[in-house]
Subunit: 497 residues, 2 copies
Amino acid sequence: MSNALQQFLKKHAELADLHDAAAVLNWDLEVHAPPKAAEQRGRQLATLSGLAHDAFVSDAMGELLGQLKEDGNLDAAQQGNVRVVAEDYAKARKLDRDFVERQSQVRTRAYGAWMAAREANDFGQYVDALEAMVALKREEADRLGYEEHPYDALMDTYEPGARTSVLRPLFEDVREQLVDFVAAIAAKPSPEGGFLEGHFPHQKQWDFGLKVLAAMGYDFDAGRQDLSTHPFTISMGPRDTRVTTRVDESNFRDMLWSCIHEGGHALYDQGLPRDHYGLPAGQAASLGIHESQSRLWENNVGRSLPFWKHWYPQLQAEFPDAFGDVALDDFYRAINTVQPSLIRTEADELTYHFHVAIRFEIEVGLIEGSLKVKDLREIWNDRYKSYLGVDVPDDKRGVLQDIHWSHGSIGYFATYSLGSFYAVQLFNAASDALPNLQADIESGQYSGLLEWMQQNVHAHGRLLTSEEICEKATGSRLDFSHFMAYAKTKYGSIYGL
Amino acid sequence: MSNALQQFLKKHAELADLHDAAAVLNWDLEVHAPPKAAEQRGRQLATLSGLAHDAFVSDAMGELLGQLKEDGNLDAAQQGNVRVVAEDYAKARKLDRDFVERQSQVRTRAYGAWMAAREANDFGQYVDALEAMVALKREEADRLGYEEHPYDALMDTYEPGARTSVLRPLFEDVREQLVDFVAAIAAKPSPEGGFLEGHFPHQKQWDFGLKVLAAMGYDFDAGRQDLSTHPFTISMGPRDTRVTTRVDESNFRDMLWSCIHEGGHALYDQGLPRDHYGLPAGQAASLGIHESQSRLWENNVGRSLPFWKHWYPQLQAEFPDAFGDVALDDFYRAINTVQPSLIRTEADELTYHFHVAIRFEIEVGLIEGSLKVKDLREIWNDRYKSYLGVDVPDDKRGVLQDIHWSHGSIGYFATYSLGSFYAVQLFNAASDALPNLQADIESGQYSGLLEWMQQNVHAHGRLLTSEEICEKATGSRLDFSHFMAYAKTKYGSIYGL
């Protein structure tokens, strides 16, 4: 091993340690830290990320990368690591200290304005700060550079290689094909679901969630589940991937599908190549691919009839008052109700994508300059009416509902939908490759599915883009017809269409 | 504020952030981390402490200290900070990278050998590694330098300013005065204590402990209590001091006094001057003073009759099967039984100090070269027989019982006894200053005592030595006669002597 490679690995191991330390601090802040600890915790995190940033963008790192690009003895994975780190490095160097400091100020202002505007239920109070954020993101796109569209530069942070020219027609398909189908569903009577409301004791829910997680293949010796206000998954080492969930005693669905969703994220992190921990070959490919793993488990597995053939008797045994007299088929239909609504995070498996499409269209328009921040309330409310058929009663339940823009996360929302669409396409490919998959799921066995995902998705780390992973694993790039066919089969059957 | 002072404060704030991050990682490791996380966690901690060490011993820090020593505009606290940091800096520079690396190797070897020797119950397997450790500590003492005795240089790390010439006569007093008194106690019948054994449900113990902690004045908005194998207190920010305890359902005493003991440590950390967090003026004075705060609450308050006048009815109400028919006086006598024993951590308030005296004498002998590692088993067993009157049946319950030497913690044990002795002297001074103290304790009110400790002990941070704090707070340096008088009054009454 060359001296340069040794140093490169050592520096990245230290960077990983700093990121992991920050992950522990963040996890603790969400899960355990006492209220008065929060202020100092912010400073501790800033110190760690400052140290990591300085170490990464250092001239020394640039010199190492230069030497390693000329190193003829690297194996394929190390070549890939060097290539992707060099890309990250070039990007990071384009955002100089002055920009990073201004970014931090604009974020602080935008987050404060968003909180105040929500409190006042008045988008008007957010406009100036959001305009400053959009201006900053446009500058960021210019600094980073792009081939086709400035929005591509922003998406690249979350979904390397994503192009507006690909996603725009994708979300047009969503609108054109899904709007009609959802309208047809809406014309049918909703499945009866009153039995989903009831009293579901905390401990019983918790234990049930843990049983499902364990069955999925989550390694509790390399992770744990805790409670938090918003469920999340976080890794703080190659063998320490934790999940959180929340428990509402009147709604067991919230806990259960959070638990399965986060479990899917965690199985991905637990499945990444450990030997390359802290380097691209050991990192997640993109937010879209990460979300594909959570959505696959949440929806394609966890809301499927085969899944519940196995688990429903156990659920009935735990909650006999609620489900003792409810047939599996009625339960299955009730947990798959489609119902247009106002809030993205509460949306069902189909209408969810209208929420994302609206945000995608708005973001592209803001970044290319065809839409103005001051018009967003009107644009938002118009599109909710036209795509989802709902009237937005106020800004809190409308254009102010998401935190993302106040953090500067523009280019992020699309990855939620990409996740669902990749999930269907990957699940189909796994089904083709695993003839017993349905029977396995009916008997609570998921190891075949998990191994297929490990080999065809997790194993690539971040050395391939999402689209390359999809193509290698399924034979084609992302193709919305897979999702549409899945939707029509599943919901056509549920709603008798 | 001068530029040098600004930089000095900024660098120390970053150092504090790194130490706090390490504290979060350590706390998590003990309390929550899944088993497979441990290996990487060790590396993460090494990276953080390496970064902190490099930043501290840097030439830049030396230059800042040089400038600040000449700065005529510093207030008294900042002058103190500069003085003490300069001492730390000079010490740290004396232990160069080569020494630190060898230290790490010797520790790893000694810890491994200690574990193996314990497993085999054979001190012989530990001798070579412990000899290497003693040689290293002798080298460390020489590098650090000392005025009177090489052992002083080692104690200084834990108890700044401590001298062998002061502690040797102190432990001679322990032996001469306490051995006879304990022998007189041993000649009396032991108080009846069978009722202390029973079944004490986990949750009831936990809740009782929390109630006591809250009454002591522990701020739960700036801390929390969790479970761990070995109880400890740890601070990870100026407003984040956490404690842990353990619960044994057959022995409520273990939980309760751990809880009070750690609570005492935590009240000290929560009482340190927050404005100087991360600097000597905001740090604990020494291990001995830290232990004085935990022992004061554990013993002088928590094992006293006034304390139980308040809490015993509540304890009876929680555990009526065990205590419903037991009079307060019998309970009080039972929790204050004196009984020579083999294991330091299980020893009572009096015989505990024989355990420490033996370790102190052995450490001084090893460091000055008058004792040899290969003779330790024999020396240990002889002294246990002569001071405590017990026969040591094997090495596990003898010379192999403590982890400290394997970590290189030589010079540490004495601080446990110093803590108890300071505690009595401080408690006496507080009693003189607070005429209502006994009545307050009888009614479960501790705010006067806590405020007195904050003003007379906590407020000094690390700008005074233990002895200086003791002298300022009590009118004299540590004087064993306070402890002896306390022991004679309390145990004379309990045992009718």
